[in-house]
């Protein structure tokens, strides 16, 4: 209600408009923003060069300020204050988009250009055993094995548990318990990864009175991080299954659990797979709990239940910590491997979602 009254207000405020018989107010031509932008950039670069600013970013910022101010002034002259405000808002929204794209583009571009330097088949198939940190060479084989095993164990625990919880929430859940579970799934999504690591650490202290040094402890922490993501996405997918399917099955006298297993889950299986894969993508990049629980090693350790392991994100952290150029090169290459792994998982997951999406009609 209040919206309409305030929106209507500006109209009666400008009674001088009807003085001219023209129906439309004067408009700037379509090329006007481009012209103002070109002018702003020219003047901005002029000021930048004249004042001797070295940073190109400052030239850009000056041009941006000039563009916003200039388009406001010109539009206010020709079209009126309201249109001018609209122009400014439009340019701010575009600016925020461009501002956000720059660092994200730079991140991907830097990782790829620096990563390909040492990334080759040798890098993927060798560990860091007997490689001095200041020397080039070595690889991520041990880290890839560690990541795959830890993430695999975490998925084996979290996926069934999460899917069953989601089934409970959608198919059975009523009353206080379901409400609490829903709330804490949401809250659990926000548990920092380092806290999950500390929790498993304190469990180990209380139960075994020593610090864990195994991939398994790390995967337990990853399970905690993965669980809420799986629950949330599976829940959304199960809710999309049309009720008519359940009713048809129940009407045939089929028990509820068989209805869920044979009708509801197959209908939603594409979405559930997507959710689990996105969760896997999220936890494969976690390094904080690995740093606390798995330590890290330079040798190949295929047993996740005893002895320290490595993992891709932790490997990057370690190599960064070495603080010399060969190590930085290795860190970038490992980052490229990790980013490629996560992105491929993401793309495949979304592909499955599109391919398996329930088709109506």
């Amino acid at each position: 209600m209040s919206d309409t009254t305030t929106a209507a207000k500006p109209a009666p405020e400008s009674p001088r408009a009807p003085a001219s018989p023209a129906l439309a107010t004067r408009r700037l031509p379509r090329w006007a923003p481009l012209a103002i932008a070109a002018g702003a950039i020219a003047v901005g670069c002029g000021i930048g060069a004249g004042a001797g600013f070295t940073s190109q970013i400052q030239w850009g910022l000056i041009s941006l300020v000039l563009f916003v101010a200039g388009s406001y002034a010109i539009t206010a002259q020709v079209e009126g204050r309201r249109q001018a405000k609209d122009r400014v808002a439009t340019s701010l929204v575009w600016a925020s988009f461009i501002l956000a794209v720059i660092p994200l583009y730079s991140l991907v571009q830097t990782t790829i250009s620096k990563g390909v330097k040492v990334l080759d088949i040798n890098f993927l198939t060798h560990s860091m055993n007997n490689v001095l940190t200041i020397d080039p060479g070595g690889g991520v084989y041990h880290a890839i094995i560690g990541t795959l095993e830890q993430v695999g164990i975490a998925t084996a625990i979290a996926a069934p548990l999460g899917i069953l919880t989601a089934i409970y929430l959608v198919e059975y859940g009523k009353g206080a318990l379901a409400k609490w579970v829903t709330f804490f799934v949401d809250v659990m999504t926000g548990v920092p990864s380092i806290v999950a690591g500390l929790f498993i650490l304190s469990v180990w202290f209380v139960a075994f009175n020593k610090a864990p040094q195994s991939g398994f402890a790390g995967s337990l922490a990853l399970t905690i991080l993965m669980l809420p993501v799986v629950v949330r996405s599976t829940e959304e997918m199960l809710k999309l299954v049309p009720n008519e399917l359940r009713e048809a099955s129940l009407a045939l006298g089929i028990p509820k659990w068989r209805t869920i297993v044979k009708v509801v889950i197959p209908t939603a299986v594409g979405g559930i797979t997507t959710g689990v894969m996105l969760a896997i993508a999220r936890i494969s990049g976690e390094s904080a709990p690995i740093a606390l629980l798995v330590f890290g090693t330079n040798i190949i350790n295929t047993d996740p239940f005893s002895g320290p392991q490595s993992s891709l994100p932790y490997y990057i952290y370690q190599q960064y910590g070495n603080g010399n150029q060969p190590s930085y090169d290795r860190a970038w290459a490992a980052a490229l491997v990790l980013i490629a792994f996560v992105m491929i998982l993401n793309l495949v997951a979304r592909g499955i979602a599109r391919w398996k999406a329930p088709k109506y009609r």
């Binding site: 929106a7 990782t111 804490f184 920092p192 380092i194 202290f205 390094s287 996560v342």
Partner: protein
């Protein structure tokens, strides 16, 4: 709704089969799924209990004041440690991140929903989704090796022209930009996707009628947004920001790689000093003895409680919104 309605009132139409048949399979499956839900609650409770047990042990032997001591020498004898610097650093870096990220994220959300050409909107949203998946350690690596050297110029400029505000004063202008300010910028980039995504969803829910009504009254596009979109989406945007805040508070690796930490509490955000909870845990963990680890667990408990409060509040706001918009639809 239709499936759940019949079971409570089966007595009136079919009086013959009043008790429903419960099969063992049904009971096992229901128990299994309910059990999983309970496991989840138990895990949450266990996190709180286990952390508290270890933390109480540590705090009781602290020879400093846990809340006001600056330095962190938990492995020393006697142990002296406190969270003052860590709490300050965590709050300051998160506030900087929010101040940068929230306006830009709302801008992008509006861009995707209202400004971008329709064909571009989908792909842009998709790319932003992908960016949410970039691991934090990669942001950390990029921040430390790319962002830090590139921000030095901005630091000098801020120090020269805004140094009088004390906040932007830098004690040694030539020192590397491994400061809370840089951490804040990096965190802003990291939490941008989540704030954008949630805000976008909320803005999508704005009833078309509201916008069309505003357009019909002759409102410009900005007036449509200010008068009908933003008032409706405000609470959703607030909770989106709080979810982003929760993530910024707990971020570990990106901070640990960028910040050059020291137990100094400084109002100059460009100085390379300070620390955050999670950064301190990762940095001090390697050298800590068993008691030192308990002390770190204590600081982790503080972080856990803070993020729990922030996230819980955000979720409650979202839930209220949901009920409200459900009643509207």
């Amino acid at each position: 709704m239709t499936t759940t309605a019949p079971p409570p009132t089966p007595t009136t139409p079919p009086p013959a089969n009043a008790p429903t048949v419960t099969r063992p399979g049904d009971r096992i499956f229901a128990g299994l799924s309910r059990g999983s839900g309970i496991v989840l609650l138990v895990v949450m409770a266990a996190i709180a209990v286990f952390l508290t047990v270890r933390a109480v042990n540590a705090i009781s032997k602290d020879h400093g004041n846990f809340l006001t001591t600056f330095e962190w020498n938990a492995s020393a004898n006697p142990p002296v440690f406190g969270v003052a610097v860590l709490a300050y650093g965590t709050v300051v870096s998160s506030v900087i991140a929010m101040a940068i990220a929230v306006p830009i994220a709302v801008g992008i959300a509006l861009f995707v929903t209202h400004y971008a050409p329709r064909r571009l909107g989908g792909p842009i949203a998709y790319v932003i989704d992908l960016l949410a998946a970039v691991p934090s350690i990669i942001y950390g690596l990029w921040g430390a090796l790319f962002l830090v050297p590139h921000l030095l110029g901005l630091n000098l400029w801020l120090n020269e022209y805004f140094g009088w505000t004390v906040i932007f004063e830098k004690e040694n202008p030539d020192s590397a930009a491994r400061s809370l300010f840089t951490v804040g910028i990096l965190l802003a980039i990291m939490i941008l996707p989540i704030i954008t995504n949630v805000s976008r969803e909320v803005i999508r829910q704005v009833p078309k009628m509201h916008e069309e009504a505003a357009i019909a009254l002759g409102a410009t596009r900005w007036e449509v947004i200010r008068l009908s979109v933003l008032p409706f989406a405000r609470s959703g945007i607030i909770s989106a920001s709080m979810l982003g805040l929760g993530r910024a508070l707990g971020e570990t690796m990106a901070v640990a790689t960028v910040l050059s930490a020291s137990p100094v509490l400084s109002a100059h955000i460009l100085d390379p000093v300070g620390g955050t909870f999670s950064q301190n845990i990762v940095a001090k963990f390697g050298e800590a003895n068993e008691f030192g680890r308990d002390a770190l667990i204590a600081s982790g408990l503080v972080l856990f409680v803070i993020t729990l409060l922030v996230n819980g509040a955000a979720r409650i706001i979202i839930q209220r919104r949901k009920e409200y918009s459900g009643a509207n639809a």
